[in-house]
């Protein structure tokens, strides 16, 4: 019934609008899964649906969500950024050192850490757009380079010494009870939404990801825009690293090992296609919350760490399979 209605609607739609519809369908799937998990957890765990726990989850998901928003842009261009976990660690330790060792005020320290991330992103972007390396390889290299650097600058020991007010970024609560990290998610998501939907950069990102050659031939300065996308991803990874550092009031050189997988999983569960051209901020947020809730729920129910990893892997399979299945049907029906 519903699919008949969908069919009759989609047959009359131009391609661009149909793409939007695909996105909406993937979000529906991920959003549905999110609702199911929320319902399940509220039934089995009396502690789940409490204000304290929801605020906790909001704070715990902040750095993953912020980083995933950057990676969404990259994946829309048919690229990938594997380096975000390492870049976050490097930004975290350098940002804390700027405050602790150089005595920079907190806002400048946070900005400094974010710029370190942007710098790493710039290298990624140039390697991809100018040197012509495959994004997978370029950012894989950065994954190990940034991790090595974060061990070198710290001698592999955590760095402390940031002023106490640095804690506000990841632990602060606004008047009215809204955690600052949650506010940050909302602001970064809104900015990401505007960039993707209301700016040239966003539209070109979709165009480059859908068909690189066509984008080039239609006069889009592909190199410049591709580089910008990696810079944004690096900057948000750096900013995410500062949020994580703030949560523990220190720079941890081993922070975020394997985090890139959570981040990419969030983007993919949210309906972005690794082939490019598809993906939305809302979908990514849903994906990030889905993963955070699985982890939170697993602890509430005292599920062993190893099983948590298996659950998340299976959710990735299901999300992507369901997504492809829906897209194929929709495509078949609109043909």
């Amino acid at each position: 019934m519903i699919s008949n209605v969908l069919t009759s609607i989609t047959q009359r739609l131009p391609d661009a609008v149909r793409d939007r519809l695909y996105d909406a369908v993937s979000q529906l799937a991920a959003g549905g899964a999110l609702l199911v998990i929320i319902l399940f957890l509220s039934i089995v765990s009396p502690d789940f649906l409490t204000a304290d726990n929801l605020f906790n989850v909001g704070s715990q998901v902040a750095y993953t969500a912020v980083m995933a928003i950057g990676v969404t842009l990259v994946i829309i261009t048919a690229g990938i950024d594997l380096s975000v976990g390492s870049v976050a660690a490097l930004s975290g330790v350098l940002g804390v050192m700027m405050m602790g060792n150089l005595g920079l005020p907190v806002p400048l320290g946070i900005l400094g850490g974010t710029l370190v991330g942007a710098g790493a992103g710039l290298v990624n972007g140039l390697l991809v757009s100018v040197a012509g390396l495959n994004p997978f390889i370029a950012t894989l290299g950065m994954l190990t380079v940034a991790r090595g650097l974060s061990y070198i600058v710290t001698d592999a020991v955590a760095v402390f010494g940031a002023p106490d007010s640095f804690r506000l970024l990841g632990q602060g609560v606004l008047a009215g009870g809204i955690p600052i990290p949650v506010l940050i998610i909302i602001l970064v998501a809104l900015a990401g939404y505007v960039v993707l939907n209301r700016t040239r950069l966003g539209r070109y990102a979709y165009a480059i990801g859908s068909n690189l050659e066509a984008a080039r031939l239609s006069g889009i300065p592909v190199r410049r825009y591709l580089t910008s996308v990696y810079v944004i991803s690096g900057a948000l990874a750096g900013f995410g690293g500062m949020i994580a550092a703030s949560r523990v009031a220190s720079g941890q050189p081993n922070f975020g090992i394997g985090l890139e997988l959570d981040v990419i999983a969030a983007v993919v569960i949210g309906g972005a296609s690794l082939f490019g051209g598809q993906g939305t901020i809302l979908g990514t947020l849903i994906g990030a919350f889905l993963i955070a809730l699985i982890r939170n729920g697993s602890v509430l129910l005292d599920v062993n760490t190893y099983y948590q990893q298996i659950i998340i892997g299976v959710v990735i399979w299901l999300a992507v399979y369901w997504d492809q299945f829906r897209r194929k049907r929709l495509a078949a029906e609109t043909e």
């Binding site: 009031a249 602890v299 399979y321």
Partner: protein, 341 residues
């Protein structure tokens, strides 16, 4: 699409392995350790290899080893070298093999993997190189290779006693934060802790979540444990990042002092938490003594050719009452002038 995810996962694992393979070289004692086989005349050349360099714990092993070398007045030269991640087993195998090839007189090392490193010990002995283990030995442990290490099982068995003393007759709910399932020290501490719990039926283990040896992860899982168990009375965290994360979560939840935390290791931040009353007791090992006794044992075997017995290097229970005692201070911040022996 799932193929691509698998590819990403595999590549990421490869990349992590590559990142962990980097070595940091640092030479201690006298000159370089270029081989002269005999070893009975002239200074004894020893390679001292921790599980990884760059951590407080291993730095104290180095200070102890260096102290033993310094006290020999030129009779012992040590080379200090290690990989950068405790999980880099093959990197450590390569490193030790290189030292054997160089012709050092003895290896004093902490095995990153008990079974894998047994082959290296055997290879060393076949080449006439004396071996002493510190912190972690091999499986099997050859009879003539002494181990100087903490008896983790025995020390962890005492943790429930400490918790019981704090919580009184009523007992209460306890959470356990292990750090890396599958590693020997983690398993030994878990085994000791759970054996000790059997003597205290008033202590109820209500949650068990790994910190994966990461501060952030420890913070997150402890936050969630506190949510799931609003009546939690105590936490045992089995290594440094776990203790710091648990203490931070308890502090942020405004439950400082209400929840008894017993933790492992004694880095300065943990000691600060003891002073602040956030952590009740720390189980602190004696890595200095491991390095010191390990080097002396190796020299004794090489010089005098006799068998040396290894031993438990012991733990110190550090709490607010004794944290400023001179003996405790020398364990927490060991120097050659004030050795914790």
């Amino acid at each position: 699409m799932s193929k691509q995810i698998v590819a990403i996962l595999l590549s990421a694992i490869l990349a992590l392995a590559a990142a962990a393979c980097a070595e940091v070289r640092e030479s201690g004692g006298g000159g370089g350790a270029q081989g002269e086989g005999g070893g009975k005349q002239g200074p004894v050349e020893l390679a001292v290899v921790p599980k990884a360099v760059g951590f407080d714990f291993w730095e104290q092993v180095r200070i102890g080893a260096q102290c033993a070398a310094d006290k020999s007045e030129g009779q012992v030269d040590i080379s200090w070298d290690g990989v950068t991640a405790e999980t880099d087993v093959s990197g450590q195998v390569d490193l030790l093999t290189n030292f054997i090839t160089q012709g050092v007189d003895g290896l004093v090392y902490a095995a990153t993997d008990a079974k894998v490193l047994y082959d290296v010990t055997k290879n060393a002995k076949d080449n006439g190189v004396t071996v002493v283990n510190v912190d972690s030995g091999t499986k099997p442990q050859p009879e003539d290779v002494p181990v100087f290490a903490t008896d983790n099982v025995a020390a962890a068995r005492k943790v429930p006693d400490l918790l019981a003393k704090e919580l009184g007759k009523e007992g209460g709910e306890v959470a356990f934060i292990p750090f890396q399932q599958g590693t020997l020290t983690n398993e030994q501490r878990e085994q000791g802790f759970k054996e000790g719990l059997k003597d205290h039926p008033e202590l109820k283990l209500v949650a068990e979540q790994s910190s994966q040896s990461q501060y952030n992860t420890a913070l997150t899982v402890t936050e969630n444990i506190l949510t799931a168990n609003p009546n939690l009375d105590a936490i045992f965290a089995a290594n440094e990042p776990g203790v710091l994360g648990a203490a931070e979560a308890v502090r942020q939840a405004g439950k400082a002092g209400d929840i008894t935390i017993v933790g492992w290791d004694g880095n300065p931040k943990e000691v600060e938490a003891v002073r602040d009353g956030l952590v009740s007791t720390l189980v602190v090992q004696n890595p200095f003594k491991m390095g010191y006794d390990g080097v002396n044992a190796a020299v004794e075997i090489i010089r005098e050719g006799k068998t040396v017995q290894g031993g438990d290097t012991g733990v110190t229970f550090v709490n607010k009452a004794n944290v400023d005692d001179p003996e405790v201070e020398s364990v927490l911040d060991p120097t050659c002038e004030d050795p914790p022996l």
